[in-house]
């Protein structure tokens, strides 16, 4: 409720400040989309009263910030993004209604993996190149960003396979490496395949995200720190290898270490992003009073520094706080859900959305090297909106199946502190 109101107010502010002579239609559409959250929230409360009551409002808050900033930076995109939010909400309801019973995950795990890998392979061969990365598939009048969809498919695949194998991987007694490796084999193969494709198509952020989600789910399922250790070591070795093999990886890292070495060339985007952030100060320049036109990709990869410039540290802190809350609620759903499969899916989704937010927010502010992936619910883009709302639908479905039957895994769940 508050989020929708605030968002509508923000849109109105931007409109009055910048586009006074233009028609109000996009603003109305944006407000309508935000109103959609109210409707869906009402429906949820009525029909699935056990569902987590905070996830959707937090997503509404992030979407409100997103629509306001997109209207501010690229007014011509507001209408489209509002439509995507509305469609996303519809997708959420559909997922909630049809995919809530997670048995399909177990049954179609390998199909998910195959579909995901096929999508990635298609992107590499047929994809459109933008900003030096091949990340989009033409789909009629639209373009699909398969990376986002594959993210969900991979979570489903890992969850399905791990649900099947985690018992064997956690047997007490001496380790049987060969058997374990055979069990892990399919996941490792899929991971390796995806990473190779992504590194070649220069989509490093996505590679990092997929690998991080894999390690996170492996840890959740097995608790085997030796896997995590080996995984992290392999990551370090792979990263070092890529740094030496691929010029585009080297450029990313060098620009991160010293963007001022080439501030008008390679370091341009990150330097402009830093100026943008720094110029915002505590309170920001005010909506419409900053200069996001100076920052390349201010409505996608660099939307967060733009928030920093116009809404100041207050704005960035609130945005990160929303993500913190969101991550907390998602993990709470994961710790409280009933079966192993539910726990794995919920934890996988939580890890993927949380890690994704950190990778792009940290990247656009030079905390870590910049690699372009969408910030969940914040960045302009249809594929990301649809996927994230679908993920949200799954999480809501899992949470609405209620805490705690008497099955063994769920007994352990009770002890988990709600993730913060």
């Amino acid at each position: 409720m508050g989020a929708a109101l605030l968002g509508a107010l923000g849109l109105a502010t931007v409109h009055l400040a910048l586009y006074r002579s233009e028609p109000w239609t996009p603003v109305a559409a944006g407000a309508l989309a935000l109103g959609g959250f109210l409707v869906v929230h009402g429906a949820l409360c009525a029909m699935r009263s056990e569902a987590d009551p905070l996830l959707l409002p937090i997503a509404a808050g992030l979407s409100a910030v997103s629509l306001v900033m997109i209207y501010r930076v690229r007014p011509e995109y507001l209408l489209r993004q509002a439509a995507w939010v509305a469609l996303g909400l519809a997708a959420l309801l559909v997922v909630l209604g049809t995919l809530g019973d997670l048995r399909w995950v177990r049954r179609y795990a390998y199909l998910c993996a195959a579909a995901g890998m096929a999508l990635l392979a298609l992107t590499v061969t047929l994809g459109l190149e933008r900003n030096g990365a091949r990340q989009w598939l033409p789909l009629g009048p639209l373009t699909l960003e398969p990376g986002e969809v594959v993210k969900l498919l991979l979570v489903a695949f890992f969850a399905g396979v791990l649900d099947d194998t985690y018992r064997l991987l956690t047997l007490p007694g001496p380790r049987r490496w060969r058997a374990e490796l055979a069990r892990l084999g399919p996941m490792l193969a899929v991971c390796l395949f995806a990473l190779l494709l992504l590194v070649f198509q220069r989509d490093l952020g996505l590679a990092l995200l997929y690998y991080g989600v894999f390690l996170a789910m492996l840890y959740v399922a097995t608790g085997r720190l030796d896997y995590v250790g080996v995984g992290l070591a392999a990551f370090a070795a792979g990263a070092a290898l890529c740094y030496h093999l691929f010029a585009h990886v080297r450029v990313r890292v060098d620009v991160w270490l010293d963007p001022w070495a080439d501030p008008s060339g390679r370091g341009y985007q990150i330097v402009q992003g830093l100026y943008s952030l720094a110029s915002g100060g505590v309170l920001g320049a005010g909506l419409g009073a900053g200069h996001p036109e100076l920052v390349p990709a201010a409505h996608t990869d660099m939307i967060f520094p733009t928030i920093g410039e116009e809404l100041g540290a207050v704005g960035t802190f609130c945005t990160v706080a929303l993500y913190l809350l969101f991550v907390g609620r998602m993990f709470r759903v994961a710790t409280r859900s009933r079966g192993t499969l539910e726990v794995l899916v919920a934890a996988g989704l939580a890890a993927s959305l949380g890690l994704q937010a950190f990778i792009i927010l940290g990247g656009s502010t030079r905390l870590i090297p910049l690699t372009g992936i969408p910030a969940p619910f914040l960045t302009y883009g249809g594929s990301a909106a649809m996927t994230n709302f679908a993920a949200l639908g799954l999480l809501l479905a899992i949470s609405s199946r209620g805490p705690a039957g008497g099955t063994p895994p769920a007994a352990a769940v009770r002890h988990g502190a709600a993730g913060r």
């Binding site: 840890y219 959740v220 830093l274 952030l277 100060g281 709470r332 927010l361």
Partner: protein, 470 residues
């Protein structure tokens, strides 16, 4: 499984907390510093929003102002190339120079860091920057430009009592408004119109350096104005033959007479009596070899270390040659110091900053001073400089009814004919104007530079009389 899920949640939450801490650093703690870096394009955009302040001469005549032209702000310079090296230019492509660069924050009305002031600016329409009132006098500047008569060179005119710069001209010049349109032609011109010869042109001083040698001699106690010296047509020091201008010979002269006729051979003899150290120390006391503190960038010139000078080097600096290099501004300061009883006033250009409403925000009558010589010694040198104009090499600088003190210089240089120098001040009994004239490769100081100095000093005195404070 649940505790592990919680652990994972904590890890991700921790990452986001790290992000918040980092953001606090970038936005709040180092934010202002980072945002103020010259590379931040927002600074230039802020400059575009502000209506730049005007630059006025000492009688509040407009030297530079801004006009709206097609939604853009265009800088106008009503006097064209006359004040180019003083005002500089303001170009989106080539940056800022001169007073425009030095006082850019004041012209923009910055800083408005105070939130309340920033709020007022936000609601007060396009903010206007402050006006600058300079010490220069357009009449003096015009006279100086006329006196240079199309030659390469520079003229600096000071009020010796305060250090105020009344005129500062360097030729050839350029139109500051045409910098964007004609940059290549201006920058590639072999006569270097962008170089401010007044503050950054470095030349051998020739005989205009002799007042400093005279000061060293009188201060040392080893000579007085009546000390008798030999003035043959030429003399040989350590194998080098040194001659007088036009091979003049005067036989035996007092120091005062040798100074008036600018006898090189007599000064070589005097230099030998003093030693290099005394001359070099006096030159440094007058600020030579160091860049003067000023509103515009200045060059240091060059004064050799005394240790490095043998008998031949000592002989050469005794009449202002050798490796010595000076700027016209430095020589104007030498004249002004002798005029002002041995006290050097720091030269300055900015006399007032006025708010957009005309309110005076800051005003400067002077910017500091330094004693170079005892007053009695300065008076003695001034008297000898009066003789130069009355009966010596500088008679072309005479102004009817006004006693003028001066010294000619005709500086040999590796670039062709001699540079013509004249340094002077007037009225000699109560000096209110001091000047240095340099004309590159123009010939003899007495014939070429002294008449130019006369025109400029006469114009400056007339301007001061008109202003009501002679």
């Amino acid at each position: 499984m649940a505790p592990r899920v919680a652990n994972l949640g904590r890890l991700l939450a921790g990452l986001l907390v790290v992000l918040v801490v980092y953001l606090a650093g970038v936005q709040v703690i180092w934010g202002p510093q980072l945002a103020d870096q010259a590379g931040n394009p927002r600074l230039a955009l802020a400059a575009e929003r502000v209506r730049w302040g005007r630059i006025l001469d000492r009688r509040l005549g407009v030297l530079a102002d801004s006009q709206e032209l097609g939604g853009r702000q265009v800088r106008r310079y009503p006097f064209g190339d006359l004040f180019a090296h003083v005002l500089g230019y303001r170009s989106p492509r080539y940056g800022l120079a001169g007073v425009e660069a030095r006082y850019d924050p004041a012209l923009l009305g910055l800083p408005a860091r105070d939130p309340w002031e920033a709020l007022q600016q936000a609601f007060g329409g396009p903010p206007r920057g402050n006006d600058l009132v300079l010490t220069v006098d357009t009449a003096v500047q015009q006279a100086a430009a006329r006196a240079l008569a199309g030659r390469r060179g520079a003229i600096v005119v000071l009020d010796p009592r305060t250090g105020a710069v009344l005129g500062l001209v360097s030729r050839p010049s350029f139109d500051p408004a045409a910098v964007d349109a004609r940059w290549d032609a201006i920058a590639r011109d072999p006569s270097s119109p962008l170089l401010d010869r007044a503050t950054q042109g470095q030349y051998p001083p020739g005989s205009s350096f002799k007042p400093i040698v005279l000061a060293a001699a009188l201060a040392s106690g080893r000579a007085t104005s009546d000390t008798v010296l030999d003035c043959p047509a030429e003399t040989t020091v350590a194998g080098a033959v040194i001659g007088n201008f036009d091979h003049e010979r005067y036989g035996r002269l007092t120091l005062r007479q040798a100074f008036a006729v600018s006898c090189n051979t007599a000064f070589v003899q005097l230099g030998g009596m003093l030693g290099a150290d005394a001359i070099v120390r006096m030159a440094r006391a007058f600020g030579l070899g160091r860049p003067p503190q000023f509103d515009l960038p200045t060059a240091a010139g060059f004064v050799p270390a005394a240790r490095s000078l043998g008998p031949r080097g000592t002989a050469q600096i005794s009449f202002g040659q050798g490796s010595l290099l000076v700027t016209p501004l430095q020589m104007a300061l030498v004249a002004a110091t002798i005029a002002n009883h041995g006290v050097m006033m720091r030269p300055f250009l900015l006399s007032q900053v006025r708010g957009p409403d005309g309110r005076i925000l800051s005003a400067y009558a002077q910017r500091g001073s330094r004693e170079v010589l005892p007053a009695a010694l300065a008076a003695q040198i001034a008297q000898d400089m009066v003789d130069v104009v009355r009966s010596g090499t500088g008679t072309a600088a005479q102004i009817p009814g006004v006693p003028v003190a001066g010294k000619t210089g005709t500086a040999q240089n590796p670039h062709g004919p001699t540079h013509a120098w004249f340094i002077a001040f007037a009225p000699a009994d109560r000096p209110s104007v001091a000047a240095a004239v340099l004309m590159e490769n123009a010939g003899a100081g007495g014939a070429i530079a002294a008449p130019a100095a006369r025109q400029v000093i006469a114009a400056a005195l007339a301007a001061q009389q008109a202003e009501g404070r002679p």
